[in-house]
């Protein structure tokens, strides 16, 4: 039962990385093929141009070639870091990603962090007070937040805080006058624009994490070691910490697994709050049959998925020694 040799450990890491790489490759390949099998091509929606002319354009971009031929060409370019051109944005795919990805990551990482912290605090509080009035109120609240359709919540926030009360900007990342504001006001302006989209995302995320943390905390709270901790003379806070330390395990795993849903959740928030990030762009790319961009979006998504699952692994190992062996 003593620690294994280091070599076995590092080879497992390598295997895991290779496996991740394979997953990304497989997802990208599937996206590549499916996008091309889907009806239409990048020129289809330009119906004001006669089909014959569009067919000629498709041919000169090689979209009429057999999929394997296109695939090999694409893979060869990808190997040297060339993601190709976005047919919709008429720019290199990497330029588009460089614009949109940070926006999503900013919003999502803030929302995820806030959700995790709030959700864990609320859930842990509830988990030790199952059945009390406070617990029931919070449970009802989080169930409500969780079951409300995402876009509906976003629209509600906009209606209330932007349109009716006028407290906060409805959409966009900055105000119209942003460029002409002094620096301090610019910072405030940016923060103000973050509030509503972040609230929408955080409410949902918090309810999710709170529900999770509550049930794991409730389970942990009934474990005999909580009794032990109390018998040792720990304060209630110390006892709760004992329970929380083990209740952390499923929540932390969840945190990593939530990563891919960042992109999914992004779609509605980005469209309601006019926050043109990765989710919005991916939808545009698919609708416009922007092959290169759509596949790149899938690559980004699958990288987030595998890195999320890697992170879940790492975090789980960090907080739960039982899985570390």
């Amino acid at each position: 039962m003593l620690s294994r040799p280091k070599r076995a450990h590092s080879s497992r890491v390598v295997a895991r990385l290779l496996q991740s790489l394979f997953v990304v490759w497989a997802a990208a390949t599937a996206a590549f093929v499916l996008m091309r099998l889907a009806p239409g091509d990048p020129y289809t929606t330009r119906i004001d141009v006669p089909a014959n002319e569009r067919a000629q354009w498709s041919a000169q971009r090689g979209f009429d070639q057999p999929i394997p031929v296109q695939y090999v060409k694409w893979l060869r370019n990808l190997a040297v870091g060339d993601f190709g051109q976005s047919s919709y944005f008429k720019r290199p795919v990497l330029d588009v990603l460089r614009d949109v990805l940070p926006r999503t990551l900013l919003l999502m990482s803030l929302a995820l962090t806030a959700s995790v912290l709030l959700g864990m605090a609320i859930g842990a509080w509830q988990g030790t007070r199952v059945g009390t009035t406070g617990d029931s109120l919070l449970s009802t609240g989080s169930l409500l937040a969780y079951s409300v359709p995402e876009f509906w919540l976003g629209i509600l926030l906009v209606q209330l805080f932007a349109q009716s009360l006028g407290w906060l900007p409805a959409s966009g990342m900055v105000s119209t006058e942003y460029e002409y504001l002094p620096l301090s006001a610019r910072i405030v302006d940016r923060l103000r624009h973050l509030v509503l989209p972040l609230t929408a995302l955080t409410l949902l995320g918090t309810s999710l994490f709170a529900r999770f943390q509550r049930s794991s905390m409730r389970d942990a709270w009934n474990e005999p070691f909580v009794q032990t901790a109390r018998a040792k003379g720990l304060t209630e806070r110390g006892v709760r910490w004992h329970a929380w330390r083990t209740a952390l395990v499923p929540v932390v795993t969840m945190f990593g697994l939530m990563f891919p849903s960042l992109l999914g959740g992004a779609v509605f928030v980005e469209s309601i709050f006019s926050w043109p990030g990765m989710g919005h762009t991916a939808v545009l790319a698919v609708n416009a049959r922007d092959y290169n961009l759509a596949v790149a979006a899938v690559i980004v998504g699958s990288v987030m998925t595998v890195s999320g699952s890697l992170l879940a692994d790492v975090l789980q190992r960090a907080v739960d020694p039982r899985t570390a062996a």
């Binding site: 889907a38 009806p39 239409g40 020129y43 289809t44 929606t45 330009r46 119906i47 004001d48 141009v49 006669p50 089909a51 014959n52 002319e53 067919a55 000629q56 354009w57 000169q60 051109q85 919709y88 944005f89 008429k90 720019r91 290199p92 614009d99 949109v100 926006r103 906009v158 932007a162 349109q163 006028g166 407290w167 906060l168 900007p169 409805a170 959409s171 966009g172 990342m173 900055v174 105000s175 119209t176 006058e177 460029e179 002409y180 504001l181 002094p182 620096l183 301090s184 006001a185 405030v188 103000r192 469209s271 309601i272 709050f273 006019s274 926050w275 043109p276 919005h280 609708n287 049959r289």
Partner: protein, 561 residues
């Protein structure tokens, strides 16, 4: 001074302190005619601002104020000869004796925004890019009658045509925005979108480009030394939104000053908002339920249901078009009389439309052999049921609502409409394979009326045009051909009316709405007349009276901090 919007926030105290500390001294009242900043919402982001690459309305809206055509079309949208056209980049033009070429002389005062003079070579280079298949310009097909452009330095460009046509001048002057050749020297036509000019345009328009913050805004300011005079507004900030809904909300919150087209659903609210003004203006779009007259399985055969003229006419007559249009568009659209907006129907034309007459529609179907059997509500003839699958583009709420109303109304005469909502690419693919019964269609007309040829003539079936339903009428074809090629305006008008009457009688579609467009704007803006060719057309002459200017207007021409 009205407090900035920032004072309205939760942490109001903190922020207004910050702002007050930083806001400029109260300025003496500005009484100049020029000035003001308008924030315009766009419900999408342009891809490229390079003239030959312009596709969407968002791109058109901005390119049209940054760049110039050789000449601009008049308010009557006449396209025959040069009547009604006004000089833009060209100060004058000369027709050749045989009318096979037109020489444009460029305005000698015209300068690119980088200070370079505009030369004839710019025109030639622009034409070559527009017509190079590698560039994939939407306009290329419209330039097909122009053989070449030759240059007489410094400022005369001559267009050589393949055939004489009434639209020769229109084709040469209207379809292209002239781009700076000196900034496109090294541009590869196959990768034109990579040219830096696409994202930092240098034009000759009365506004000049300032900045493009991806995902956020594009800003232009008045070109104060422009040869046609500076724009009246100081600055236009185009705010880029991810969708219409977000843009409309921002109009209501004052974050933007202008948005068009305003959805019909928001009309009432906009009317009740004191700070907003609602302006209706004509549009070139009409909507219809297109019917496929050919058999999807074998295009040379008539459609088993819709190939029957009696069925098509009966369906049209069974439709209360007025009610459909009112229900969906409220007062923002009219009822289309035929396959065009009313703008292009000659004023003296007396078109006989199919009347709304349910009884007559029933009688027509009865006499054509479409009978209702016992225990059935749908007519049938020789075992073929009067059942029509209607393709509806997903995400087009207006067309969807019209389709639902049609379904309901046509049920009354024993026709069953089955709505099939399809993703746009799938839908277009089915249209282009003529694999459909009916389609909720919308078409944007252009001044040259090429749409009447492109959408309905026999030759436009298949890949050559947009005649998805395979409408086939030698009478229509001949009359349209004559209408578009006759130099005699009387003949052109007469044949146009004949063509329209022919197609109305043949009923290859149920003509529904001719859209009007609605613009919602801040009440301080005076935009003059909004053009059917696009609300942006007169942007350089929009004004904001000095006494109505707000903090946004006072940004002025100063560069960003």
């Amino acid at each position: 001074m009205t407090p900035l919007r920032y004072s309205r926030l939760l942490a109001g105290a903190l922020v207004s302190t910050l702002l007050l500390a930083c806001s400029p001294e109260q300025q003496p009242l500005d009484t100049r005619e020029e000035g003001g900043t308008v924030a315009i919402g766009l419900s999408g982001e342009p891809a490229s601002l390079l003239p030959p690459l312009v596709g969407s309305d968002h791109e058109q809206a901005i390119v049209e104020v940054l760049y110039d055509r050789l000449a601009d079309i008049g308010p009557a949208l006449a396209t025959v000869g040069d009547a009604g056209f006004t000089p833009r980049l060209a100060s004058s033009w000369q027709w050749a004796g045989d009318s096979m070429s037109i020489s444009f002389t460029l305005d000698e005062r015209a300068r690119w925004h980088d200070g370079q003079p505009v030369v004839a070579d710019d025109v030639k280079r622009t034409f070559e890019l527009y017509t190079n298949p590698l560039v994939e310009s939407s306009q290329a097909a419209l330039l097909a009658n122009i053989d070449s452009v030759s240059v007489s330095p410094p400022r005369t460009a001559t267009f050589w045509f393949k055939r004489r046509s009434p639209q020769q001048f229109y084709d040469a002057a209207y379809h292209m925005f002239i781009a700076p050749a000196h900034l496109l020297q090294d541009a590869d036509p196959a990768e034109l979108s990579l040219a830096p000019l696409g994202r930092s345009p240098v034009g000759t328009g009365r506004f000049r480009f300032v900045q493009w913050n991806s995902g956020d805004r594009i800003e232009v300011i008045a070109d104060t030394t422009n040869f046609r005079g500076r724009a009246i507004l100081d600055r236009v900030i185009y705010r880029l939104f991810t969708d219409v809904g977000a843009a409309v909300v921002s109009l209501f919150t004052g974050e933007i000053d202008f948005f068009s087209p305003l959805p019909a659903d928001d009309l009432e609210k906009a009317g009740k908002t004191p700070s907003l003004r609602v302006v209706a203006y004509p549009s070139l779009k009409y909507q219809l339920m297109l019917m496929n007259v050919r058999n999807p399985a074998s295009v040379e055969e008539p459609h088993p249901v819709l190939g029957d003229l009696a069925v098509r006419r009966a369906l049209s007559m069974a439709t209360n078009r007025e009610r459909v249009v009112r229900a969906v568009f409220d007062s923002t659209a009219g009822v289309a009389r035929g396959p065009t907006t009313g703008l292009f129907i000659p004023e003296n034309a007396t078109l006989r439309e199919l009347p709304f007459d349910v009884a007559a529609a029933r009688a027509l179907l009865d006499s054509a052999g479409w009978q209702i059997a016992a225990n059935d509500s749908v007519r049938a003839k020789n075992g073929v049921r009067l059942r029509i699958e209607v393709l509806v583009p997903a995400g087009s709420p207006n067309r969807d609502r019209m389709a639902v109303l049609l379904q309901d109304q046509l049920r009354a005469v024993g026709a069953e409409l089955v709505l099939q909502r399809l993703e746009i690419n799938t839908l277009i693919t089915r249209l282009e394979r003529a694999n459909f019964d009916a389609f909720m269609h919308g078409w944007n007309m252009s001044p040259g009326l090429v749409g009447l040829r492109q959408v309905w003539t026999t030759g436009s079936f298949g890949g050559a045009g947009n005649n998805y339903g395979g409408y086939r009428s030698p009478t229509y074809d001949a009359n349209i051909d004559s209408a578009l090629s006759s130099f005699d305006p009387v003949v052109a008008q007469r044949t146009l009316i004949r063509a329209l009457q022919t197609i109305i009688d043949d009923a290859p579609g149920i003509w529904l709405a001719e859209d009007g467009a609605i613009a919602g704007m801040h009440e301080r803006i005076e935009p003059g007349v909004l053009s059917a060719t696009g609300w942006w057309h007169g942007l350089p002459s929009w004004r904001i009276p000095a006494d109505k200017r707000n903090d946004r207007d006072r940004i002025g021409l100063t560069p960003a901090r």
